[in-house]
Symmetry: C2
Subunit: 108 residues, 2 copies
DNA sequence: TTAATATTTAGAAAATTATCAAAATATCAT
DNA sequence: ATGATATTTTGATAATTTTCTAAATATTAA
């Protein structure tokens, strides 16, 4: 299971998560995104760059504006990575693994 | 939809994700976790602290060792947050939202 | 071309995070 | 109590990230 490392790094910042949350309501220009944030437009632009690099958003020019939109494909990958932490039990363990009991017992 | 901010921050670091990946194979002591990493045990302990603070792992003492184990409940929360980016379309929009068309047209 | 608006980029400063070495804590065995 | 092992904490330094201001780019409208 592989996820582009930039995805979780991008999701790790609260400002960027807030941007993504806002984008759920519909596409927005860079300027509209920056409204409501304390930090300046240049900083928001920087965050948008990271989100773009991670593949979480895409943008297109519309006149003088850049319109940002969610790119949900990448969310799915992150989703799947998280899900591996649940399905591990359902997959049949290899016989080699079955007899595993090293110096650290796995249960008190 | 709320997720403890520390969760995504914790997931944002590659070393911590590697620790979680390793823990999928079964519970491990702090020492066993640190094997195979370039960085020292003190640093791993620091990372384990962050994972614990985020609620992604728990640990119990077993003699001289601390045994770390995944705590999957918190993964579910992160999972659900990510899923909100898909289910947004299925939820009926409020009438107020329907007539929304500001200075930025949302579609060419 | 010039002026105006929208956004990004560059460079530096501030804030945060990761890492290490050394000291401290906890448990086990003697 | 002393010594050994396992892990964490502390304090300092290094590396990364965030933010800012100012300058640069791109588009539109005269």
């Amino acid at each position: 299971m592989e996820v582009h490392p930039l995805v979780f790094k991008a999701l790790g910042d609260p400002t960027r998560r807030a941007i993504l949350d806002r984008l759920r309501g519909g596409d927005l220009s860079a300027g509209d995104i920056s409204h409501g944030f304390e930090i300046g437009k240049a900083s928001i632009s920087h965050h948008l760059n990271l989100l773009k690099a991670a593949g979480l958003v895409k943008c297109r020019r519309q006149g003088q504006q850049q319109i940002y939109t969610l790119h949900t494909t990448v969310f799915q990958e992150a989703l799947q990575w998280l899900m591996t932490f649940f399905k591990e039990q359902t997959e049949a363990p290899s016989p080699k693994e079955a007899g595993k009991s090293g110096k650290n017992g796995s249960r008190g």
